[in-house]
């Protein structure tokens, strides 16, 4: 039989004082995670500018968060000749230009623009000359009945306009539908 001896710091359980401090710090850590998530969610709404984006919603279900409407924005797919140069997962900024009350895609850059309206996103994929970008506003959570009602209303026209807030750094939050389907015409 091989005798195994281990240093005591591996086998000894932590003492009571360490446990007490550790447990309290863990609780503090959990609350910090929730507060950072909360502030990250509300700051663009509190401090940002409202814009309107065109989208085509579909209705799936998240395992943890319930039903949501998946929003496929026009600005999710951007045509670029040098699309392959943008790494997957990298941060990009899309300049937004207003036309007839709708904000549309302008230039894409990996550097934050100094002026004008812009939205911050991450490159999800690049297909040939197309960039697929996520802005963190693609999921819109609703009760099941409302999500299905939106889906029903969308049948035929397939488009909607969504109210989005963008902060100074380009971080975006969707807050609601401005209009759905025929109401947008």
């Amino acid at each position: 039989m091989d005798k195994v001896t281990m240093p005591s710091w591996l086998t000894m359980p932590p003492n009571r004082k360490v446990i007490k401090i550790g447990l309290l710090l863990t609780l503090l850590f959990q609350l910090s995670v929730l507060c950072v998530e909360y502030l990250g969610a509300v700051l663009p709404i509190w401090t940002g500018k409202e814009i309107i984006l065109k989208t085509e919603p579909v209705d799936p279900r998240s395992l943890f968060r319930g039903n949501f409407v998946r929003l496929n924005f026009d600005i999710n797919l951007i045509s670029r000749i040098d699309a392959a140069e943008f790494k997957r997962g990298s941060v990009v900024y899309l300049v937004l230009e207003e036309k007839d009350g709708l904000w549309q895609a302008g230039e894409v850059s990996s550097v934050m623009p100094i002026q004008g309206d812009f939205i911050r996103g991450r490159v999800r994929n690049n297909y040939g000359e197309m960039l697929d970008i996520d802005y963190g506003i693609e999921a819109f959570f609703m009760p099941k009945e409302k999500a299905l009602a939106v889906e029903k209303e969308m049948r035929g026209t397939g488009t909607a306009k969504v109210r989005v807030f963008i902060s100074d750094t380009g971080k975006a939050r969707a807050v609601g539908f401005k209009c759905i389907a025929k109401a947008c015409e």
């Binding site: 039989m1 091989d2 005798k3 195994v4 281990m6 591996l10 086998t11 359980p13 932590p14 009571r16 360490v18 446990i19 007490k20 550790g22 447990l23 309290l24 710090l25 863990t26 609780l27 850590f29 959990q30 609350l31 995670v33 929730l34 998530e37 909360y38 969610a41 509300v42 709404i45 998240s62 943890f64 968060r65 319930g66 039903n67 949501f68 929003l71 790494k87 997957r88 997962g89 991450r122 996520d134 963190g136 506003i137 693609e138 999921a139 819109f140 959570f141 609703m142 009760p143 099941k144 409302k146 939050r173 969707a174 807050v175």
Partner: protein, 445 residues
Amino acid sequence: MRLINLFKKELAHEARDWVRDGLVSDTQANAILVRYGESLNEDPNKNSFGYYLLMSLGALFLGLALILIVSHNWDEIPRIVRTVGLLLLTLGCNGVGIKFFLSGRQQAGKIWLFFGGISYGTSIMLIAQIYHLGEHFPDGIFWWAIGILPLVIFTQSRLLGLLSFTLASVWAIVETGEDFFPTLYPLFAIVMLWLTLFQKSSRLLFIASIAGLITWLNIGLAWTMGEWRYFAPFEEQLPFSLGIGILLNGAAWWLMRTNKQDWREYGLVTHIWLLRASIITLLILSFEGAWEDYSSGFDWLSISGIAAVFLCGALSWFLSRKSGLYASTPAIIMSSYFGCCFLLLTAMDNMEFVTAIATNLILVLMGILLIRRGIDQNQTHYFYTGVVTLLLTAFLRYFDLIGDYIGGAILFMVAAAILMAAAKYWKYHLKLVTETGKEQDQESA
């Protein structure tokens, strides 16, 4: 180490019946049970464990109910009320858990912390739901898992360990599914290994951590080949994975020789699962098509893959050599067989036929060794595993012929010759043992 170690609780139960029926004395029964790290005395924690288990399951069900209630999306209730409500629930449950744990009511404390952990995760999801956060949703699961991980360290709770590791594994799966690499996954596995090796006994968490680490290593190889930007699985991963499996088997035998009862059990469980995994792998590789993806031609990747198989085989032999021939022989056989097969495929074209035949013969050899081991060590598990291996091989080859009918028949004849030769050798070996025994008896008389 014998399989009976995995049933020591049942053995203790039986021993109590033997003492009650007067078959053995208390001292004798205890002497038997000490060999397996058990004793005649009723485990004082047995009943409280039942209570703890049911309460834990109850907390889990409550947690699932909470997630579903939140998922319903009560948008008629103001956002702030919903957010503050769940934050207070998280704070409250964890606070009560910490208070109970520190005041000596550790089991109750762990159950409250377990429910607090679920409540914490639900809060993450609720905030994401209320504010329509669609950004890379696996991050939410990661922050949930990592928020519970320190609790595992400070409470040494297997229940919290299971929750944290399950969440970490879900995170690793969805993160990989989203084409990102779960870099920090080993952190969770290492904490679970520390918990199971040095603090508490849990075969489930130990095996899950090992399996998780091997899987992570494999997807890490694919991620490395994709230049840390995307997954690029490659054929040479197969020899690397097989090498790790062979090495792990050596480590399992080393664990079975240690002076710690828990470690010996971990070694045995790891060995049994590796044995099952190796039979399934060999059955898959017994098909010619399974080898076709492996590319021919030498390059640094194929050479390092083959070298890894031989190196892991040597290390496995080194770790298992003191445990006897049944432990060390498979390390040599398997690494030589896999190494030679990959070498053949790399050096020459159209060798899949040869490697498939070699795999079928290795399956026959494995079946024979398992039957022999089962009879030698009086362990039915190995005996029947050997029989099933041989029958499955015959079944697969009967329906999926290698070559044509004649080729299949030749393979069956070779397998039959090996089986019969093994039987003859066994008979000869038994005769030798009997004669030697008689001679020794005569000499002593």
